[in-house]
Symmetry: D2
Subunit: 335 residues, 4 copies
């Protein structure tokens, strides 16, 4: 952390600042320029916020040098983390496709889709029982009943399941779920993250609509600091001024996160664009930049879907896509 001292700050105020920083355990390197004095703080600054320093009279500005996340940081943990679920690996060169409907609607629907995506080669089944909908008047999911149907579909296919949690109060219902998803709108629901940090379930953490990569990693850090290091990151599009797509897929996030962290990173092309015909090209792009997996919405009857129909693929379209995904993963892994 670099502290830029205010021009005209009194000697006393600078001395007081330095003394307090030393009491907090930092060594201080001072550099005096013609117009500017800067203080370099040496020590572990991860628990120090810029704000704490900015409150001192003598401080003009603060520049962070080292990232505030530790457990998620590749500097600290250089090797790729591989998350293993029911014998299936994600990360470290292991690519997985998670597929299924946006929301679980009936036994027939989820089981049929599960069998289809399993036959096409998906490694995980997704399906929402708790749905975060902008409107209270929209379908909110089947809740506990939905989770039961999802677990039946798991039995029928052997596919491990991924499903979203919206409140720590529902955690008991997720006992047999394989991967718990935290949705974009809950990325900074810190109380939920803390609770999930105390479980031993793999967590699929989606990036918020307006969150930076460093904030995503700080949210992963919340889970990891609780003891649960099985975190999978998911880029699903951010909000910008562009309106022709629902969100803007930040494809650069994948190589940038790869530098910053050792955690697996997957991409959700269905939510990123919100449009069926873009799922294929965005999936190809995700593989091309080295993502560890994809999360794709599939519905047996998209025009009757209770949620996100316009971005859902039919089982047939998904089957075609899986063939391309497999060939493309093989192509890039061979290069």
């Amino acid at each position: 952390m670099i502290v830029i001292v205010k021009q005209g700050a009194t000697k006393n105020s600078i001395e007081e600042l330095k003394q307090e920083l030393r009491q907090k355990g930092f060594d201080i390197h001072e550099s005096k320029g013609t117009t500017t004095t800067i203080l370099g703080l040496v020590g572990d600054t991860s628990s120090l916020t810029e704000d704490e320093l900015l409150t001192y009279d003598a401080v003009e500005a603060v520049r962070r040098i080292r990232e505030p996340y530790k457990l998620a940081n590749r500097n600290v943990h250089p090797q790729d983390t591989v998350v293993e679920v029911c014998g299936r690996k994600i990360g470290g060169g292991n690519f997985q496709v998670i597929a299924g409907p946006c929301s679980i609607e009936s036994e027939e629907q989820i089981t049929e889709v599960a069998k289809d995506v399993c036959a096409s080669g998906a490694g995980f089944l997704r399906g929402g029982a708790f749905k975060p909908r902008t409107s209270p008047y929209s379908f909110q999911g089947l809740h506990g009943d939905g989770l039961k149907l999802l677990l039946e579909a798991k039995k029928a296919t052997g596919l491990p399941v991924v499903t979203e949690i919206m409140s720590a109060a529902h955690l008991d219902l997720f006992e047999d779920v394989d991967v718990i998803q935290v949705g974009a709108r809950n990325m900074q629901n810190f109380e939920l993250l803390k609770v999930l940090g105390k479980t031993n379930k793999p967590i699929l953490l989606k990036r918020g609509l307006a969150n930076t990569l460093d904030e995503l990693l700080m949210s992963a850090e919340y889970i990891m600091a609780g003891g649960n290091e099985n975190v999978i990151l998911c880029e699903r599009g951010i909000r910008t001024f562009e309106t022709s797509t629902r969100n803007t897929l930040d494809i650069s996030a994948i190589p940038m996160l790869r530098k910053k962290t050792h955690l697996p990173i997957i991409v959700d092309p269905s939510h990123a664009a919100g449009i069926r015909h873009m799922v294929e090209p965005l999936s190809m792009a995700a593989i091309a930049v080295g993502a560890d997996g994809l999360m794709i919405e599939v519905h047996n009857n998209p025009s009757k879907a209770l949620c996100d129909g316009p971005q859902s693929l039919t089982p047939q379209a998904f089957d075609d896509l899986m063939k391309k995904i497999n060939k493309t993963v093989a192509f890039f892994q061979g290069n």
Copy 2:
């Protein structure tokens, strides 16, 4: 809702679409242009999403005509809502200032600040016991103990209190709290909103960092749909590309929300800018555009604040500001 029919859609697919829409209870007005056919849906479209329509083969695009919120809509409820708390009114021409520290740190701190802001004329005391911090290594608040201290400060001053809830699991602790705040990061924590809709507490709902005004109103609708119509909206800055301020205060939101809704609207200038010297000008701007109140951070020793020190005012600075606020409110109400 207007449905734009795809060029080249078959007669059959258009007929099927029309039939299903009629089954959902809509009357349909059809307009055929030279290149485009559009269908106007007549009926209550608030439970219909654009997505449901986009899944039909015959549909190219959908344009919403009426807002999807009802209870929060000024069209439906033309008169200003006035929220009353312990005899103090917000909205409908009643202006209130909520002041206090970012986080409750000790009995001495909260009581001292409470007495100071009360003496300066604040109408409500704020103070956080549950703090949403980006980093798990930052101070997280005193939780239940903090709420106790806050209620003691209420006793000592008579000021009703406003404090943030971060999880429905903590609701019992908020029994004696006067106004429950939902923070920006939880604006779309729909499970929390639903629980708060079942309480009879006034809710102060902050706009999310990247949420539109219509989304803010849909979140208010979640609370109101549960039966609790005492919702106060709060603009606290949105995220943009500008980095010299922490957030960008969307001052236009206040007159725009005024048109859209009957709910009271307040402004938080402390979080919007994140910088002490901007609290005064942004407070003046908020009054000038007709906000119903302000929420301002005050700390008895900002340089020792455990949270948000750089944006906190000293009690003396707050006292000076309150004099200006009172004069300015009087000036604009007299015009």
Copy 3:
């Protein structure tokens, strides 16, 4: 400028870097931490870009300490600049209202509006002869003929005129224009800025839709570096994800720019919101935060305006607004 040295950089690469920086005239202060070495550069860094430093193998990151603008910087020039046009002053406590139609359409229109806004107390007349329109099929302005009509309206009223330039090739036509406006879309048309820096005309420089305050000041610096220090900055709304207003007025920009620069700062509430009923509240907000003036669109027949009709005030509405503006300016200057 602070240079953060890469972990694991070789001694040689660090030495080479230091040597080259010394050759460029900088003194270097080195601080070695446990994991990080930083170099502080002492000297004038305004011509040095972060990029130049990032190209060195030994450099991990660069943090700028001092702003890269000099002539526009309040640190260098602490007193407010007052721009004087035909005896009218803007800045340093002098408030001005610039009013008129979006585009000049006919002699009758511009002269009538000019007389009206003059009678209401506007200090300057605005009117566009060259119009930057998104579509090539929209009205593009009357060009040279429009400027002639504008100058006739000036004669008829005595109001100095402000009008937008879109190409350096048109500069000759602007000889009798009092203030030349650079529109948001040309804020980084650097060739145009350089040409205007060689004139002695006051320049009204609008902030681009997605430009930071520092970029706005760097564009002002382009004009000032050419010798023309009569620059007036204008905040006119930035682009965000919010769609209910055309742009988002960044009201915080005014107090923040006030700290950063000595140049006068005005606000254009008409373009910021794009909606007539928001012009008054946004004007009040601009005065409340200490803007040096306002730029307001007025049209004698908004429903027939060839451009920006929905945000134009009628002369009568402008007259009412001017009364409020005058009272509000007096109120805030008296406080």
Copy 4:
């Protein structure tokens, strides 16, 4: 275009509106709902702006149905446009790589880089002689002398050249240039676009930092409306709140533009991220989504580059990348 009539609008005001719209040549389809009346306009609405309609008293809102661009619209011109330069084709399945330094610095530099990228298989040479720099104190390019050096490098290698124009006043200097680039900051420099529309040079039009895809197409329309239909679109990253990359590459823009327009679309991964190690993954992503080409910065000595060094590849790194590009293009074209 759909016009939503204000609730409570008088019969007279609606009649007047309809009459004027009929006079403008539109047929009108009227739909009366329980609370809302809408008017559908039938006819060519490309020269009609939403604003013109919003000025009428009777109009509450306007929704556009058809895009306002015609010449660039794939609906009007279904087949891919192929731009041909010196016998090299871009678009319609023809992939091209444009490579070279950010700025032309010396004869030795540009010629050396030209030979290198030519040997590696680039189809075009890029190099800037007029450089849009944020700071007036940064290197601004060699101007006319730079263009001469670029043309010498063309002679030495046979590579057609691409270089940026910053002012219509410089057009004469571009006589022998093969492709004229319009930079992101000039995307809405409409006077420049109009001048380029009168030339017969292929134009490489970069998307602005905060411009929508429809605005990009409207800028292409400016050039095409002048008679020059040889426009190549370029996605180069947009501005968002994310700060770890210089810009956010909008990879979805490529498949979305492909639907909207018949013009070729290329990607500039060097500017999108601003970081060398991201050029390769972003290039792969661009190919994966079906871009028609890439524009890549190469410098023979990046650490001495006068501009954009951190994102420039060495000739050796570019050679490695070209091999991957060729294999990847072949892979995706074979699928």
